[in-house]
């Protein structure tokens, strides 16, 4: 099938799940709403399924948790992932712990959607990634799709999952090209959470990433092919659970690992992943490193923001340097 744009992907996933399961409800509508989806869905499914609510992370996350405990499958939208700070009580202190703390009495099948990501000139407080804030919370899943088609399948998987899920929609996916090489796109089906995906197979190097950075890694892999470097690109899809086995399997073949994260290195998921791989498979590694951002808030000025962010060019430059290739070879 031809890949949808993000707007269509999200709207269709929501519509299909609302259609499939009467317990699914949408809360909010304060977000960037890249589908313009909520107006359309409210008209189609009615105000009892698509509920307006104030732009409050605190109340939305708390109410979504209560609704999920009482039998609904709420999907709510934060205006931006930066505002997840206000939703942390409901998500971290309640939803993530309910299944365990209750002794398995019940689950909290909620989804918190949020636009995320730098590169769109939104400044320090509307560009940052909450991945590392959330990754250390047992019981909370983090889905971070890498393309509109992936977003569609993973959102359906997140809504069907019995556990609470933070679903991060990278802003750059809105501008994603509809086709990216020969990568097979999922056919509108739900993608169960927890498994990584080989976005591009290769033999010489494993580039692990998630969300908006995966397309940078794929572009870099195309450029590196010109150097005779055959890079594998692994799309984690979810940062928790983390499909460590898929990374280990890939590294066992390529012996080199690069983790690309749009976020600071210290406390980030990429650095954590390197530690886990070293612990389990040091014998497989010839080299391992991360490409992250400087330890700084993300600046507004396009000149400054671009200098801070990794892109295909900086991935390629880093790989060439680690492999000892002269710049511009090939």
């Amino acid at each position: 099938m031809s890949a949808p744009d993000l707007r269509t992907a999200i709207r269709e996933a929501l519509a299909e799940e609302l259609e499939r399961d009467a317990a699914v409800v949408l809360l909010g509508g304060c977000g960037e709403d890249p589908g313009g989806a909520l107006g359309y869905l409210r008209e189609r499914f009615g105000p009892e399924r698509v509920l307006g609510a104030p732009s409050s992370g605190l109340a939305l996350a708390g109410a979504a948790y209560g609704a999920a405990v009482a039998g609904l499958r709420p999907v709510f939208e934060l205006a931006s992932a930066d505002l997840i700070t206000l939703a942390m009580d409901g998500l971290v202190n309640r939803a993530a712990k309910f299944w365990h703390v209750s002794g398995g009495q019940g689950t909290v099948p909620l989804v918190a959607r949020a636009a995320v990501g730098a590169g769109c000139r939104r400044g320090a407080i509307d560009s940052q990634s909450p991945c590392s804030w959330l990754q250390g919370v047992p019981g909370l899943k983090i889905a971070f799709p890498s393309s509109p088609a992936e977003a569609r399948g993973l959102l359906k998987g997140a809504i069907r999952d019995d556990n609470p899920v933070v679903f991060l929609e990278h802003r750059r996916l809105r501008f994603a090209r509809s086709a990216k090489g020969p990568v097979p796109e999922p056919d509108g089906e739900a993608i169960p959470l927890g498994g990584a995906r080989v976005a591009r197979a290769g033999r010489d190097l494993t580039i692990v990433s998630a969300g908006g950075s995966v397309s940078d890694a794929l572009d870099a892999a195309d450029l590196l092919a010109g150097d005779g470097v055959d890079a594998e690109v692994l799309d984690l899809r979810t940062l928790r659970p983390l499909d460590l086995e898929a990374v280990l399997e890939s590294v066992a073949r390529t012996n080199r690992l690069l983790a690309v994260e749009e976020g600071p290195r210290l406390g980030g998921w990429a650095a954590g992943l390197l530690g886990l791989v070293a612990e389990r498979a040091l014998h497989d590694l010839d080299d391992a490193w991360t490409l992250t951002m400087a330890e700084l808030p993300i600046p507004y000025s396009p000149t400054l923001e671009d200098a801070l962010l990794a892109d295909a060019g900086s991935i390629v430059a880093g790989v060439r340097a680690r492999l000892g290739l002269a710049p511009g070879v090939g």
């Binding site: 609704a67 405990v69 609904l72 009495q105």
Partner: protein, 313 residues
């Protein structure tokens, strides 16, 4: 013995007789847990509920078993009022496998879905959001959701944000602010008008004598009826004079709701020996519950729930 407030017999005093038994159970349960804590058997904190028993029990008298309740971190009062088995609750505080949450929750976070207790909330104000969320689901099933929260919670964002959602959507929710005026005075935060804040959201509210089981029950019954008929939420500000929390239960109680209920039952014609039999029954049930809980096994660290996530549907 009667069902400790769970049943609602036809005779006017009979429901209150059972409710008095439930209040006594909460008071005695708390004292028993404090004794076990002094012995090192209960190791976690226990936040006292003594002096507020009339609020939890009076409100729960107005509820059906399937209705939802969310509590704050003095949650053993809410749990016992809603019908949680005292043995399972004692076992929970003792960290036993037979605890209502398998020993995973402790006193402050008790969950008992079978009895409609969706959770107790140590993060202040969280119970309000939980009940409002449950109210979204409750309306579909003709159920009502009740939040218990302390007076200081009414100063937090949760309170106003959730009142806004509940009022706009006319959710079947009753918000029960349990004011412990003694404790609030000790902390220098007493004096605020909580009930009046509901007007800003177009929500009715009422100040209730939280030391009076009959007054709480009547106010709750009206609010629950309003919620169940689809007319929307109500805020009840229940003013209990309670105990000073900082005195560890040893403080003075200006007007003990438990003693007040006993006097009222006597004045309403309940014979003293009937009360004494009820009281002996409560003590005996509690003793049995604690003995059985103490004899129960501790959870096996290698046992169930060793996985992080619940199995996907």
């Amino acid at each position: 013995m009667p069902g400790l407030g769970a049943a609602q017999p036809e005779h006017a005093t009979a429901g209150y007789l059972g409710a008095y038994g439930r209040m006594l159970l909460i008071r005695r349960f708390e004292a028993a847990m404090e004794r076990l804590r002094a012995l090192g058997e209960v190791q976690g904190p226990i936040h006292p509920y003594a002096g507020r028993e009339a609020v939890a029990v009076g409100v729960c008298m107005a509820l059906e078993p399937a209705d939802y309740v969310s509590g704050h971190d003095h949650g053993h009062g809410h749990a016992l009022a809603k019908g949680t088995d005292p043995e399972a609750l004692a076992a929970e505080l003792l960290g036993r496998e037979t605890g209502v949450c398998g020993g995973r929750a402790g006193a402050a976070s008790v969950i008992d879905l079978q009895n409609g207790l969706i959770g107790c909330h140590g993060t202040v104000g969280g119970s309000i959001a939980a009940a409002v969320g449950a109210g979204l689901a409750a309306g579909r099933r003709g159920r009502v959701a009740v939040a218990f929260f302390g007076g200081p919670s009414a100063d937090l964002g949760y309170f106003h944000e959730c009142m806004g959602i509940a009022a706009v959507r006319r959710l079947p929710v009753v918000l029960v602010c349990e004011r412990d005026l003694h404790a609030e005075r000790a902390r220098g935060i007493a004096g605020a008008d909580v009930a009046g804040r509901a007007a800003a959201h177009g929500m009715p509210s009422q100040v209730v004598d939280g030391d009076d089981l009959w007054a709480v029950r009547a106010a709750a019954a009206a609010a629950v009826a309003r919620a169940r008929s689809g007319e929307g939420p109500t805020l009840l500000e229940c003013r209990a004079r309670g105990l000073d929390e900082d005195s560890g239960g040893a403080g003075t109680m200006p007007r003990d709701p438990l003693a007040g209920a006993r006097e009222r039952l006597l004045a309403d014609g309940v014979a003293a020996d009937v009360l004494q039999e009820l009281e002996r029954g409560v003590e005996a049930e509690l003793d049995r519950a604690v003995d059985r809980a103490l004899a129960a096994p501790h959870p096996d660290p290698a046992g169930a729930l060793a996985t992080e996530f619940s199995p996907a549907r």
